[in-house]
Symmetry: D2
Subunit: 488 residues, 4 copies
Amino acid sequence: MKQLNEECGVFGIYNHNDASNITYFGLHSLQHRGQEGAGIVSSDGNKLRGHRDLGLLAEVFSNKEKLNNLIGNSAIGHVRYATSGSNSIQNIQPFLFHFYDMSVGICHNGNLINAKTLRKNLEQDGAIFHSTSDTEVLIHLIRRSKETTFKEKIKDGLRQLRGGFTYLLLDKENLYGAVDPNSLRPLVMGRTKIGAYVLASETCAIDVVGAEFVRNIKAGELVIINKDGYTIEKYTENTLVAIEAMEFVYFARPDSDIAGINVHTARKNTGKILAKECPTPNADIVIGVPNSSLSAASGYAEASGLPYEMGLIKNQYVARTFIQPTQELREQGVRMKLSAVKGVVSGKSVVMVDDSIVRGTTSGRIVQLLKEAGAREVHVRIASPRLIFPSFYGIDISTTEELIAAHKTIDEIREYINADSLGFLSEEGLIEGIGVKFDAPYNGLCMDCFTGDYVAGLYDYEEDYKNNLTEIQKQYLEENQKRFKKER
Amino acid sequence: MKQLNEECGVFGIYNHNDASNITYFGLHSLQHRGQEGAGIVSSDGNKLRGHRDLGLLAEVFSNKEKLNNLIGNSAIGHVRYATSGSNSIQNIQPFLFHFYDMSVGICHNGNLINAKTLRKNLEQDGAIFHSTSDTEVLIHLIRRSKETTFKEKIKDGLRQLRGGFTYLLLDKENLYGAVDPNSLRPLVMGRTKIGAYVLASETCAIDVVGAEFVRNIKAGELVIINKDGYTIEKYTENTLVAIEAMEFVYFARPDSDIAGINVHTARKNTGKILAKECPTPNADIVIGVPNSSLSAASGYAEASGLPYEMGLIKNQYVARTFIQPTQELREQGVRMKLSAVKGVVSGKSVVMVDDSIVRGTTSGRIVQLLKEAGAREVHVRIASPRLIFPSFYGIDISTTEELIAAHKTIDEIREYINADSLGFLSEEGLIEGIGVKFDAPYNGLCMDCFTGDYVAGLYDYEEDYKNNLTEIQKQYLEENQKRFKKER
Amino acid sequence: MKQLNEECGVFGIYNHNDASNITYFGLHSLQHRGQEGAGIVSSDGNKLRGHRDLGLLAEVFSNKEKLNNLIGNSAIGHVRYATSGSNSIQNIQPFLFHFYDMSVGICHNGNLINAKTLRKNLEQDGAIFHSTSDTEVLIHLIRRSKETTFKEKIKDGLRQLRGGFTYLLLDKENLYGAVDPNSLRPLVMGRTKIGAYVLASETCAIDVVGAEFVRNIKAGELVIINKDGYTIEKYTENTLVAIEAMEFVYFARPDSDIAGINVHTARKNTGKILAKECPTPNADIVIGVPNSSLSAASGYAEASGLPYEMGLIKNQYVARTFIQPTQELREQGVRMKLSAVKGVVSGKSVVMVDDSIVRGTTSGRIVQLLKEAGAREVHVRIASPRLIFPSFYGIDISTTEELIAAHKTIDEIREYINADSLGFLSEEGLIEGIGVKFDAPYNGLCMDCFTGDYVAGLYDYEEDYKNNLTEIQKQYLEENQKRFKKER
Amino acid sequence: MKQLNEECGVFGIYNHNDASNITYFGLHSLQHRGQEGAGIVSSDGNKLRGHRDLGLLAEVFSNKEKLNNLIGNSAIGHVRYATSGSNSIQNIQPFLFHFYDMSVGICHNGNLINAKTLRKNLEQDGAIFHSTSDTEVLIHLIRRSKETTFKEKIKDGLRQLRGGFTYLLLDKENLYGAVDPNSLRPLVMGRTKIGAYVLASETCAIDVVGAEFVRNIKAGELVIINKDGYTIEKYTENTLVAIEAMEFVYFARPDSDIAGINVHTARKNTGKILAKECPTPNADIVIGVPNSSLSAASGYAEASGLPYEMGLIKNQYVARTFIQPTQELREQGVRMKLSAVKGVVSGKSVVMVDDSIVRGTTSGRIVQLLKEAGAREVHVRIASPRLIFPSFYGIDISTTEELIAAHKTIDEIREYINADSLGFLSEEGLIEGIGVKFDAPYNGLCMDCFTGDYVAGLYDYEEDYKNNLTEIQKQYLEENQKRFKKER
C-alpha cells in the first residue's frame, strides 16, 4: 500500500554445514525488504552453485531440490525489490561468475549514484553488461583492477563507487561484506554457537538463525571472513556516519536493532514525541495504520493518555484486483487490503497515526474508510517529518513528482486527505526519538528526503534534480539553511 | 501456527451487475476461514457457470479470464479449509449440478454429524457420491424429496441434517441461504445502496463490498432472495440458539460483528476480565501473540495498568520449511513465523496473552523464544477456558488426542510450556466478556469444546466419543454437572 | 489436420507388480486415440487409487510421484479425446467411485446413442450426474440394478446400453472388459510371459508391453479377469458383427491387427485396389499424405508401377498458431504442419494418395502446397469411399454439416480442392481391401459413414438425423438400396 | 533415439511487418535442429526486444503476449540443442545486449574450436562472460575491436574465430549473417514476394514462410541486409568449401536443399548406391528406420527390386520413462518409441536400412524388436560410412568414447547388434550419392567423422584428440593416407 520500496536485503554465512538452508531462513526474515526476486549462491570450498528467480523466496525455492543442490559450508543470498521496468530474471541476484581463474558470487543492496558514468566508461573500454544492476558494475571494476590480490581489487573497486550500498561477495574460500562510506545502507555481523559467521542487512536475520550479534559493519569497512575468522579493514578513510533515517521510520522490522537501537522502541519514542508536538486533546482513541505504524501509535496513546485501539485491520492475504471499470469497484479494491472496525471507531474522534505520507492517496482512502465506518473526526498524525525530497541512495522515491509534500502545504495535504487535522513530527523530534548520538550531522542520520541534504552527493542525478526543484522544495532549502546550519 | 481450523466461508450476492467480482472481493475478506480451495458459481438468469480449484482465492482466479467468464447478476462463492486426506479438487466448492430440468450451485460451511448415516442410506438406494463433502449429501436429499417445489424440497432436505451448518444455493432465479437449528455457524445478510442483497459468513464481507448490514439469518431459517426481494421462512420449529463461542475467541475477524457484538471488543473485554481473574501484579509489560490475541492483550494491559508492548513480530510471508534433519534447524523453523523483540522483552517480566491452547507445542515454543530474547519471566494468560473437549460442528478439533487440556492439569500444562505461571479465563468470564444475552443455555453460546455440552447431539460420532473420554474429561463433566446445571 | 477424432483408448492389466507403469506404457501406444486427457486407476487388492488430468499422458504424469503412488497389481487407464465444450476435468477418465460397500474404477471408449434418454430417466429417479460422460451412465445402472452379484449387475447395465462401446471396470479383485453387441469398438486381450492379463483397444498396446495376443473380445461379450484366470460370458445373445471400417482406414495404428488383419497391410491393399479402380496412366510419381496414407500410397505405387516418393514432409513438432489476421499468415499456418518437397514434385505429374476427405479444406491446401512447389498436375486418389453420412458410434463426425461429400458431387469436390482429377475407392473395394470375412452384412464391417446403414440403430439421434438429410444423402440411400440389398 | 545432436538452427527476417510471427514460423520448421531452448529478438527500427526460454518453441511462446510484444519489422530467432551441463537459461539465444551507444541481438549455430583460448585471453584482459556460449565470444571481440564501423568490427571479430559457425546479428537498422571460412554450417537467403529478406539454416524455413530462395551464404561471407537491400562481403579470403556431410546423412530436413541438392534425393541416391555396394540377394523386403532413413530405404528397395514396406512405426508422442528398475521395464521403454509391424516382418528376411550407427545400442534394440516380431533374418545396411572419428564443428559427437566404430570392427559391430549381416556405404559412395561437385577435397564435403580429416584444424581440442586415438582410428588414418591422398 505504501509507495515506498526498499531496494533489497542481503544475507551471508560462513562455516555452517547447512549454509544454504540457513541462508533461506535468514532471507525469509528479510523478505519485507524485497518481494520480487530472490536467490542464493553457495560454495563447498571448491565449486560455487547458484539459483535465483523472480518471485517470493518461498516461490523461488518451492522445489526443495533447488535449495538442496546448493551444497557447501558458505553461502550468500538476496531478496530483491525490482524497480519498474527492470524486473527481468537477469537482474535477480546474487550473480554468479565463473572465470578461468576463479568463481565469484556477488549481491548488493542500495543504489549507486555514479553508476551511469561508470558503466559508460567501462563500455567504452569494451566491457559488456548483461543486466541493469549496480552489482555488475563492481565486478567489472574488480576484474579490471590493477591490484594484485582479490581483496585489494575489491577495495580498489569499492573506492570508485558513490552512493549508498552494501555488497556481499563469496569466493571458494572467503565471504566478504562491504558498506558504503556513509553507512547509508545497513550491514550487521553475527556468530552462531558453533562458530559460523553471519552477515545480514538487519539483526532480525541474525536472531532468526539463532546467532549472536557481534558488531555492525561500519562506514567504509570491508569485512573478510574465512577459515582464520574475520578481519575488518577500511577501504577508505573518507567516511561520515549517515544512517538512513527511513530505516527506522518505515523499512526495518520492529525487532531489528540499527546502530544498537531497537526499531520498535525508536518508533514508539517518535510516537510519544509526536503526541507532545501535535496533541489531540479532545480525541477519544488512538489507532495505528497496520503494520508499520502500530509502534508509533502505541507510543502516542501512552504519552497522550488516550486508549490505544485496533481501529484498522489489515487483510493478511494478497488479492489481485483486476480491471476495475467503475468507481464503485475501485473503492472496494481499497477495502480488500484494509478494513475499519466499525464497532471501535463508530461515533469516535479518532487519532490515526501513520509513519509517513508519500503520495497521500492511501492516507486519503484510510480517512475515508474510517469516516464511512462512523468515525466522527479523524486526526491524522505522522510520526516523521514531511517527505519533501527524493532519495537516491537505495529507496524507491527517486522522483519529486510522486511526493505530495513537495507540491502541497500541510494544510493543502490535510484537505487532500480530508482529515480534520494533520500534524507531522519535526525533524528534531525524529532525531531525538530515534536516539542515535554519533558525532556527525543530524547525530549521524541521513535525513535526505526530509531536508534535501545529500551527504554522499548527487553525481549522475544532480542535473535532473536541480532542474526540477519545486517551489516548496526551494523554500524549504532556503528556510532551513540556518536551522540546520551546524548539520551541513 | 494454531492447530485450529475453521471449515470454510461462504458468500452470495443477488442482483448486482458485477456479481462474480463482488463475490471475489467478499471471499477475499473471508480468506482466513479457509485457504486450501476456492470457487465461484454465477447465474445470468439463464445459465450457471462455475470455476473452482485448490489454492488461495488469488491463485484460483490468478487468470482474470476465469473470473470474467462467470457472467451474470447473481453468484455464490466459497473458501475452503480441507481436512487432511480429502484435499482433492472434487471437494472444492461450490458444486455445480446440471440436471435435465434445472441447474444448481451449492456450497456450505460446517459439519454434519449424521452425514455417514445419511450417505450410507442414500448409497443403498442407488445414490452415487463424487466427493466426501457434506454439501453433496444435501443435494441428494433435495433431488429425492417428494415435495413438489424446489424450495420445499430444500426444506425437506435441511430437516434431515444434524450438526452445525450454513448452506448457500443458487439456481437461475433464486439465491437461498440456510442456517442450522442452533445457529452454530454464522450467516448474515446485507444490502448495497443499489439494492443488491448479500449473504456472508461474517459481517466483514458485507463491509468490504460496501453493503449495509440487514439482519442475521437465525437458527432454523431459510432465506430466499429473488426479483421480489427477500423472504425468510423457518424450515423447523425445533431451534435453540447456541452460537459457537470459538468464533469470538479465535476464528472471526476482529472487525466482524456476531449477533450484534464486535469481535475485537468482545476479545478486549475477555482480556480485561482475564486481568482480574488471573492478575500478574509484578510483571513489567503485556504482549499479545499476533494476530488473534492482540485485542485480548490490549484489554489485559488496559485493565492491569501495565504497558502494552509489541514483544512478538509475525512474519507476514509464508515460508516453506523443508526437511529439517537436526533439532537446530527445527527450532529455526519456528523462528521463521514469529520473532521475539529483544529490545522490548529483554530483562522484563512479561505477560504473554494468547487466545487459546490446543496442543501446547506452539505456546511452549513462544515461551522459549521470549526467554531466549532475554525475558526474565513469562506469565502466560489465556483469554478463554481450557479446550478440554473435541468439537464436531465445523471446527477442526474432532479428536481428543490433540488437546493437551484433555490430558494434563493446568500445572502440568504450565510445566510443559515452561511458563512461570499460567492462567485461563473462566467459562463464566468468557460468557460475560463476549456479552451475548440470549434466553438460552450459556446465554446462547455453544461452549462444547470447553464444557462437553453438545447442544446438537453427537449421532455418528457418539460411540467413538464416549469410548475415548479421558480421566480429565470425565472429571470435568462430573464436577461441572452442578456448576452449569441451569445451562443443560 | 484431419477433422476426424476417435473417442478414446483404454488399457487394463491384471496381476503385474508394475501395473500402473505398464498401463502408462500401454496408454502411450494408444495416445493417437485421444490427446486431451488421461488417467489411471490402480488396485492393490484392498484399496483403489487414481489420478487423471487434462493433457497428454506424459503431461498428466509428468511428476513421477503421481504414477508411483498408484500402487498395486492391477490397473485400468484411459486416453481421451474430448468433444468440444466438454473438455473439463470432470469428464477425464477413469472415474473412481468409493461406495460404502466397494470401490470401482471405470472407463470407456465409444458413444451411447440412448444416453440422453437413460440419463433423463435416471435423473427423474433421483440420480445425480457429475459429468457429461457416458461412463457415468453405466455406473448408475449398475448401482441401481436389482441383480445380486456385481458381475450380474454389470451385465444388467450393459443390456440397457445402445451404440458402440467398450468398457473397462476394476474393483479390488477383478478386472472386467465389455464390448458392444456389434463389436463396433475394438477390445483385445493379451497375456505376458509371467501370466499377467492385458486388455486394450488395439493390439499395438499388447505388443508394446511385451505381451502375447490371446483373443479379441467379441460382440456382446464380458470378460472377467481375476486370480482364477479369465472367463468370458455373453451378456446378450442379440449380436451382429460390424467392425468400424474407419478403424482400418484412419484411426488404428498401422502395426495393430483388427480381427486378425494387420492395419498397414489392409491399407496397402486398399491402395492396390484403388490403383486399379482409379488409374493414373500418365502420372510420374505417387506420394502419400503423412502419416496415415503412406501405406495406401505405397500400395498404389506398387500396383501402378509408378515410383513411390516422399513428396510431403510432416513437421513432428506441434506448433501453436495464434491470431492470424492476414490471409498470408493463415496460409503459412498450414505450411507449419506439412511441407512439399520441391526437389521431388517440381515439374512432375503427382498422384497424391489420402485416406479420406472430410471437409475438403485440408485436401485443398495440400494440393495448393504441391502446386506451389512446382507439381505440374495433382491427381488425388482417396483410399476409401466418400464420407457421406455422420457416425454416432464413437467417431467425432456426428453432424452432416461438416462432410463435403454430403453436399457436393465428386466433380464439385475435385473443383473445390483444385485437383486435376479425383477418385475414391468403391465400397466394395474397401471391403475387399480390408479383407474381413464374417458372415454378416458388409462381411462384418460397419460402413455407416459410407452407406448410411446404422447397424445399432439411431435412438436419441434419429429425429435430428432424418430431418437433416441432404439431397446427396437421400439420393445415395435410394440408389444403393438395390446395390447393398443383401447387406441390409 | 539417435545419439547425434545438431547444435542449433537460426532464422532472421528484415522488412516484414509481422517479423516476429514469421520468425516463429521459420523456427518451427527448424525445430529438429534443437529442442531445448528457443528465443527471438526483434527490432522496430528504434528499440530491440527479446524473449527466450528453455523448452520447445511452442512452449517458450505458449503465451501469445510474449510473441506479440516483440514488435518491429526485423527479427532474429534461434532454436537450441543444449549440450549436457549447460542447459541453463543463460545460454539460450539470441542474446540481447543494450550498450550505451547501441543495442545488438546475436545468435549462432556451430562450435568454435578456439573458444577456450579466446575466452581466457579476453578474461585476462578484464572481460566478463555470463554464459558458456560461443555466441558471447564474438560480441566481446566486436566490442573490443579497434575498427571504426560496426560492420568492420564484426569482420574483425569473425576473423579471429576458428571452427564451424553461422552467426546472425541484429541492430536497429541492419540484419547481418556470417558463415565460417569452410561453410561447415549452412546459411541460406530467401526473399518474400513483398520484398522481405530471410536468412535461415535450411531452405525448408524459407519455403515455410512462403519466400523464394535467393542464394546460399558461402564460405567466409558476411551478408548485410538493410533498407538498401542486401550486400555480401568476404571477411576473409582464406576459404575452402567443406560442407558437413552429416547434414545430408542425418540432420537436415528431407525437403531442404543444401548447396542446391535436395536432401531426400541425396539420401535416396545413397540408398541406391548402398544396394549395389552391399546387396542382399535373398532378402524378402526392405524397411527403413523412421524417420531419417526412409528415403535411403526407398532408394535401396528401388535399386534392389525388393518391396519397400513399413516394418517399423515411430510413436509420434513423447513419453517420459521414469525409473526403470527391471530389465523388463527397460526393454518396454524402447518399444514406446518404435514398434515393429508383426504383420509385415513376421517370417521374412528383412533388410533394415539406417542412416548411421553411433553407439550401436539403438540399432541392437531395433534388430531385437524385429526378431521378436518374427523376422527370420535382419540384414542391416547403413547409408553412410562408419562414424569412426569425433566431430568438433557443431555436431554433438565430440568424444571418441561413444563411437562404436572407433572401437569395434564391422564384424564385431554386427555381432554386437545381433544382425545377420551388416554393410556400410563407402566414403566414395556417400560422396557420389550426395552429388556435390565443388573443386575441393571430397568434392567440397566435410568428411571429418568418417575420415578424421579436419579441414578447419583442431586448436583447443588437438592435444586431447591426439592422446586418445584408438587402434582402429590410427589404423584407419594410416591405411587411408593413400586412398584419400588427393583429398588432403
